[in-house]
């Protein structure tokens, strides 16, 4: 029989006999199941909150339209209907993605709803529902979310290492290394057979379990085949990386205890120290903007605006007209809108640099991810789940653009459609629809994540298998190297 197949079968038989692996799998299933359920509960709560806001907004809209229709019926010459679009409330929302339970990521860090009407300042459009985005206990937040991303990034490698940390050193411990190496096969092939037998099934099982849990909690949502495929790809590469780490450690370690210490040390370094260092670097290179500074800058502007308004009111009070004809009222609203737009442009002088600083910090943090496989995987999972910072920032920009388009619509629709009734307007009101990134913007970050993971795999594989070539896997009592 082929020696390679023999090693493979022997290893598989050993794995089948190891009861501890079965217990590990059961524990992993429990953990992944609970994490998926937690993520699912979060996504459901977010959807419920959005449905609640949508209902509230629809109620306010209906009241506005009903009032306008009633006024128009009673007095067709009333200017009230002409001003209707100025008072209609909008609540653009960042949709919760079907795979949101996979990683809650930055879901609690950014606003997910904007609320405004044309005559309300853009400043504060995210405050009504998102200022205190969550009332969750800060202690729960500081502990970190127990979601599938945590299981995949932190525990998945740990379970993999638990099953493979002694993939070769156990042969040394048992004294069978010499016998196995005496087979007519190169050591690299033998090691690969062992890795395939022990690591292969473990990898498949550890990938399948969280994915099945995710499938179960997202059953009511549209099936995101691409998202699942991406998750499999990311987990596969991440898992392979850790298997290669186990091999790299095993070819150097003299016994299993040493291998376990080394695997544990690498795990600790890659999941605690490197991310902490990267975080500190990101904060140093591009610090996050000061919220307190922004608040006070905005207040200073608000105060100037209030002073300006007061002065304007004093000068205009003598010119005020009591006529409420359609055109006069519309013109009043338009001039009011022009003033608000001009005030918003003053606020923008402070808000835009703040947002720019926020984006720069985000960018540096995201770019640094390529230095750590764990951060890369976390980033990829956040993207798949739709809970990453860039998507939230894009939502803020799109909501802002929508407000501008709505203002344009409000001030021009009467000119372009003079015969429209309130119901016509209601039917033709612009609706917000979040545009997901497309093309390069959509695929490039994911491709970078994959390339990063591939590179880490390649480097680790070179370290592992080049060592096998240079260093003996076994030295017998006579000092002969194998």
């Amino acid at each position: 029989m082929n020696a390679w197949v023999h090693v493979l079968r022997l290893e598989l038989r050993r794995v089948a006999r190891e009861r501890s692996l079965l217990w590990l799998m059961l524990l992993y299933m429990l953990i992944a199941g609970y994490a998926a359920w937690t993520g699912g509960a979060w996504a459901d709560a977010r959807r419920e909150a959005q449905a609640f806001i949508a209902e509230e907004t629809a109620g306010a809209r209906n009241r506005t339209v009903a009032r306008a229709t009633e006024t128009m019926e009673q007095n067709p010459q009333s200017g009230f209907a002409a001003t209707l679009p100025f008072g209609v409330l909008y609540s653009p929302m960042l949709p919760v993605q079907p795979l949101a339970p996979l990683s809650l990521g930055q879901g609690d860090a950014f606003p997910y709803v904007a609320t405004f009407h044309a005559l309300r300042s853009a400043q504060g459009m995210f405050d009504r529902h998102s200022l205190g985005i969550t009332l969750e206990n800060p202690q729960v937040l500081s502990a970190g979310r127990f979601d599938l991303a945590f299981v995949i990034v932190f525990l998945f490698p740990l379970f993999l290492l638990a099953g493979t940390y002694d993939i070769w050193t156990q042969e040394r411990d048992l004294g069978t290394a010499g016998f196995i190496l005496s087979q007519p096969r190169p050591p690299v092939a033998i090691l690969a057979a062992k890795l395939l037998a022990r690591g292969g099934w473990l990898l498949i099982a550890l990938i399948l379990i969280p994915l099945l849990a995710l499938l179960a909690v997202t059953a009511g949502q549209p099936f995101d085949a691409r998202g699942f495929a991406h998750a499999v790809l990311v987990m596969g590469l991440y898992g392979t990386f850790w298997l290669l780490v186990a091999v790299a450690v095993n070819v150097r370690a003299r016994h299993s205890a040493q291998a376990a210490i080394a695997c544990g040390g690498i795990w600790l370094a890659l999941l605690f120290f490197v991310p902490a260092m990267l975080s500190a670097t990101a904060n140093l290179v591009r610090p996050p903007p000061s919220q307190a500074g922004l608040v006070n800058d905005l207040r200073t502007i608000e105060l100037d605006i209030l002073h300006g308004r007061r002065q304007q009111q004093t000068t205009e009070s003598s010119d005020r007209t009591t006529s409420a004809s359609s055109n006069t009222l519309l013109n009043t609203y338009r001039s009011h809108l022009a003033r608000i737009e001009s005030e918003d442009s003053i606020y923008a002088e402070v808000v835009e640099p703040f947002r720019g600083q926020q984006v720069a910090h985000l960018q540096v943090g995201n770019n640094l991810r390529v230095l750590s496989p764990a951060v890369t995987v976390q980033h990829a999972l956040e993207r798949i789940a739709g809970n990453e910072g860039n998507r939230a920032i894009s939502f803020q920009r799109q909501a802002q653009e929508f407000l501008e388009s709505q203002r344009h619509f409000a001030s021009t629709y009467r000119i372009e459609n003079p015969a429209w009734t309130a119901s016509d307007h209601y039917r033709n009101m612009p609706e917000f629809s979040f545009r997901e990134s497309t093309g390069t913007d959509r695929h490039m970050p994911f491709l970078v994540d994959l390339a990063t993971l591939l590179l880490f795999n390649l480097i680790t594989a070179v370290i592992a298998f080049s060592t096998v070539r240079r260093q003996p896997l076994f030295t017998d009592d006579s000092g002969e190297k194998h």
Binding site: Y34, G132, L141, A260, N296, R369
Partner: protein
């Protein structure tokens, strides 16, 4: 137990430990990492404090710059209060980065704290930031495991053990000797860290109480680490092979340090869920409306309030009131909304308390669950400290708004003309916002169960280690 034998074993272990270059290096690197984390946190806190101080000055200036305006409009312009990081949060940041650092104060509502420094929105935010506390909580037990797992297990250790037991030394003496020698290393590292922390604390203008707090915190950490040391030595004595000893200990570390502290808050939050922001505000608004409308129609509210004021002042005509009707109504509505908000926030905090109480049960499975609240409470960076800050902010907000409303009630004439007044002058009686820190006695009163649990863990782990030592004679 033979004391001279114990002394001899301890002395011998101390010599072995002092000669172990691996141990010396690991301890030095670990100590250095703790000091570096503490020093960088001191610098970060100093920068956050300066930011908060500047923000406070800007906010006060903006308020004063309003000049003469309508006091009620001014109460909507509002003010902000800014939270300064407590000195010892440089050691244990607790929930400081997640609780919010600024609160808007305005009439009719109690705001939620915003501005969370820990939530910058990058992928990196999801990873544990390094602090001296996190190093001691997560890494130190692992180092203890790595240093002690082979104390009694493994072929070499067992051979040596046979010889030692052959000289007539009791296995208990051997275990206690190891425990005392390695425990001395733990205590030395903590003491050196405390010494290194002194200049940092002095530079942060700490008072004597901060040193007492640090001392008590490190007392908790000593108990925690000695617990891990006893467990490590116990497992090492129990397992014949070093591999099994290490695997068991790493599994214990993963479960008690990594898994349970992350699962416990999630379970607590699922069993006692906090309401969503929307749900909370809807309930508050409904409760305020219910009181203001007193079961009647909302449209009748102004008339009802007018009648209420006239009845209170025993007059038949609103013009006969000795005060301005609007001001009195504003004062009344502020009382109502404040009362409703306080009750609802008290309910919310009650949910937090129930979550924390439930989590405390998990400390039976993980000593870290008991250590974390002890450490962050003493650092002044726990939920209770944040609540104290919010409570102070709310009291301040209420006094501020009511000072403005009272001015309207007393000074606004009975005409429809717009009333303006120097709001900075009006609110000068309220003074500037001062947040009070929870006194040490209050912290001790609140956290004694945690130190009790830690003490329990220490005793149980020692008993376990001694029980394992008892089996050593049979094992060799």
């Amino acid at each position: 137990m033979n004391h001279s034998a114990l002394f001899a074993v301890v002395r011998r272990q101390c010599v072995i430990v002092s000669r172990d270059s691996r141990l010396r290096m690991l301890s030095a690197i670990f100590l250095l990492a703790c000091v570096a984390a503490f020093a960088s946190s001191i610098a970060r806190n100093a920068s956050l404090s300066t930011e908060a101080d500047l923000a406070r000055i800007d906010d006060a200036r903006a308020w004063a710059d309003q000049g003469s305006v309508n006091p009620h409009s001014a109460s909507h312009f509002g003010r902000y209060v800014f939270k300064t990081p407590p000195v010892l949060s440089a050691f244990d940041p607790g929930v400081f980065d997640y609780a919010g650092t600024l609160v808007r104060l305005e009439s009719h509502q109690q705001s939620v704290a915003s501005g969370r420094p820990g939530n910058a929105g990058t992928t990196l935010s999801g990873f544990t930031p390094l602090s001296a506390a996190s190093l001691l909580q997560v890494l130190a037990p692992l180092l203890i495991i790595l240093l002690g797992f082979g104390a009694f297990s493994g072929r070499q250790a067992r051979t040596l053990l046979e010889q030692e037991l052959g000289t007539g030394v009791s296995p208990y003496t051997l275990l206690l000797g190891q425990l005392l020698a390695l425990g001395a290393v733990v205590v030395t590292v903590l003491a050196l860290f405390a010494l290194a922390a002194v200049p940092g604390l002095i530079s942060a203008r700490s008072d004597g109480e901060q040193f007492t707090r640090l001392f008590l915190m490190l007392g908790g950490y000593t108990l925690y680490l000695l617990t891990f040391l006893a467990i490590t030595l116990g497992v090492s004595a129990l397992c014949h092979s070093a591999r099994r000893s290490l695997t068991t200990l790493v599994a214990i570390w993963v479960c008690s340090i990594l898994l349970i502290p992350r699962v416990a808050p999630a379970v607590a939050a699922n069993i006692h869920p906090a309401p969503s922001v929307q749900q909370f505000h809807t309930e508050v608004n409904a409760a305020v409306d219910a009181v203001m409308d007193d079961g009647g129609n909302r449209d009748d509210r102004p008339q009802r309030l007018r009648e209420m004021v006239m009845e209170r002042f025993d007059v038949d005509d609103i013009d006969d009131l000795p005060v301005n009707h609007t001001g009195v109504v504003l004062e009344y509505s502020e009382d109502v909304s404040t009362d409703v908000y306080r009750r609802h926030f008290a309910d919310l905090y009650d949910i937090y308390d129930r979550q924390l109480a439930l989590q405390r049960w998990f400390s039976v499975a993980s000593p870290l669950i008991a250590l974390k609240p002890w450490s962050s409470a003493l650092a002044g960076s726990d939920v209770a400290a944040h609540r104290a800050f919010l409570s102070d902010a709310e009291d301040y907000r209420y006094r501020y708004v009511q000072a403005l409303n009272r001015d309207i009630a007393i000074n606004r004439p009975h005409t429809q003309a717009e009333y303006v007044a120097d709001v900075a002058q009006i609110t000068s009686v309220v003074g500037e916002f001062q947040a009070s820190a929870l006194p040490l006695s209050a912290v001790a009163q609140r956290q004694w169960p945690d130190i009790l649990v830690l003490g329990g863990w220490g005793t149980a782990s020692l008993a376990f280690a001694l029980w394992c030592a008892g089996r050593l004679r049979r094992a060799v």
